[in-house]
Every structure is written in C-alpha cells, then in structure tokens.
C-alpha cells in the first residue's frame, strides 16, 4: 500500500540514510578486503594461530554492517514511519 506520509521529506531522507548505513558499512569492509587482501588471513592460511583466523578487520566491518542493518536499522525505520504516521504535526 502506498504510504503518503512516508513520502514526506523528513522520514524519506531519514529512512534512506538509516537504511543505507549498514550496506555502506558492508561495502566499506569489502573494499578494504580488496585493497588489502593480506588482512584477510582466511584467504591464504599458513598455520596461523586462532586469533589470526578469527579476528580479521575487513570481515569485522562486514559483520558489524550486517548486524546493524538487521538488528537495529530495520526496526528503527518501522518505528520512524509509525511515529510520523501518528504525529498530527506531520499531517
């Protein structure tokens, strides 16, 4: 269903920005991995210890982006649209 209030400037811009934060973070992590592939030890392991295989900065960035998007951003956008829908000042 088309949501007229979701098209008002403030929620539309805020929604786009909030929904873009997670994917932008994931893209940043992937670009970092491409620029510095030696930071991703899993790509070419040579008997490294546990920590070198478990904690790899570009992958951490990707995981944070995914976690933020699914655990925070999507629910936040729902609440933002709901709040704007119920706010008389927005009508």
């Amino acid at each position: 269903m088309h949501d007229r209030l979701a098209d008002t400037p403030r929620p539309r811009g805020a929604v786009r920005l909030v929904l873009s934060l997670g994917p932008a973070t994931v893209v940043a992590g992937v670009v970092w991995a491409l620029i510095q592939p030696y930071r991703v030890t899993l790509l070419n392991p040579h008997g490294e210890s546990f920590w070198w295989l478990a904690v790899e900065p570009p992958l951490l960035v990707v995981v944070v982006g995914i976690a933020f998007h699914f655990a925070v951003a999507r629910g936040l956008v729902s609440d933002l649209l709901e709040t704007d829908r119920s706010s008389p000042s927005r009508r």
Binding site: Y38, W51, V55, L60, F68, V72, D79, E82
Partner: protein, 194 residues
C-alpha cells in the same frame, strides 16, 4: 590463548563502529523515535558499559608497564560510569540532566589514557601515532556531548558525537603492533608488518 594486542584493538574498533552507527542513526531519527523501544534506549549505554567491563581483562592481561595498567584501569572505570549513568537515565532512575556530563568526563579520561600510555614519539611507529591520533580525537570530540548536555535539542551535536566515535573506530582499525606510519619506522621498533 591470549590474543595479540592488535587483535584486541580491532575487536574494540568493531564495538566502536557498531556504537557509532547506532549513535548516528539515533541522531538522524531523533531521540524520541530511538527511545520508542526500551531495548534500543538501553543499547548504546549498555554497549558503553560492556566495553568498560571488557577493559578490565585488557588491564589484567596486558601489563606492559605500570602506566598501561593505570591507564586501562581508569579508562574502564570511566566508561562504566558513563554507561551506567546513561542506563540510569534511560530507565528513569536518574533524572538530573547533569548525569550526562559523565560522558564527556569518560571521553577526557579515555583520551588522556590513550595519550599517556603510549609515550613514544608520534612517528616512532604506527601504533604510537594511532594512539596519539585517537587520544586527541576523543578529547576534542568530548566537546560534543559536553555541549549537548546543555543544548540537548541541537542535532548537529549528536551527529558530531556519532562521527567522533566512527572516526575513532577507523583510527583503531588501522593500528598494527609494528608498522610504519607516513613511511617512517624507528629502527628500534622491530620487524615491520604491513
């Protein structure tokens, strides 16, 4: 099984990155919308408190020197104080807005700890530079929550604080135990890593 120091930095950087994203989203949508869900209202102060807790094992297991222990210990206490105060504010147990001053206080303590526990010259190695850059970033960035305590409706201050945390995450992600910075590495530093 103790992680190398740089891995600990990267794990904290991931925490700061998540915290920064949450703070930026909170600044964009407004505190009222962010606090609609209780779990979200508790999220960032809870994360701050947890990072303060995580600083204790760092203090215990990375005893390079007395100044390292003192810096990490004071840092842990300041982060936990700020996290606990903001949890109290979110829960409604604390009502005075001045409890928000615990955040700039924690940032000044953290920044000072970053500066004093890595006393080598700025260009001695990347680790030394990163600690100094992070220290000054946090100290200057403390102005945002300080001013926001008195001007809570000014959204630019909340955005500035969020960006400070995100910049801090980027700085900490760039740390290596032994690596050059701006093409320079002291000959006493050891074998360089990329």
């Amino acid at each position: 099984m103790r992680p190398p120091a740089e891995h600990v930095h990267w794990l904290f950087a991931a925490g700061f990155l998540f915290l920064g994203l949450c703070l930026l989203a909170r600044a964009v949508v407004g505190v009222e919308v962010w606090d609609v869900r209780a779990r979200r209202a508790y999220l960032w102060p809870g994360l701050l408190f947890a990072m303060g807790l995580a600083m204790w094992p760092v203090m215990v297991f990375f005893t390079n020197s007395a100044i390292h222990m003192l810096a990490h210990g004071s840092w842990a206490q300041a982060l936990m104080l700020a996290g606990a105060a903001h949890l109290g504010l979110a829960r409604g147990k604390l009502t005075s807005a001045y409890w928000r001053l615990t955040l700039p206080f924690a940032m000044v303590v953290s920044g000072t700890a970053l500066l004093i526990h890595e006393q080598n010259g700025w260009l001695w190695s990347r680790s030394a530079f990163v600690h100094h850059a992070a220290g000054w970033t946090v100290i200057v960035g403390a102005l945002f929550p300080l001013l926001a305590t008195f001007l809570p409706r000014r959204s630019t201050l909340h955005v500035g604080f969020a960006l400070t945390v995100l910049v801090l995450a980027v700085i900490i992600f760039s740390t290596r135990d032994v690596a050059p910075v701006f093409g320079h590495l002291s000959s006493d530093a050891g074998t360089s890593r990329r």
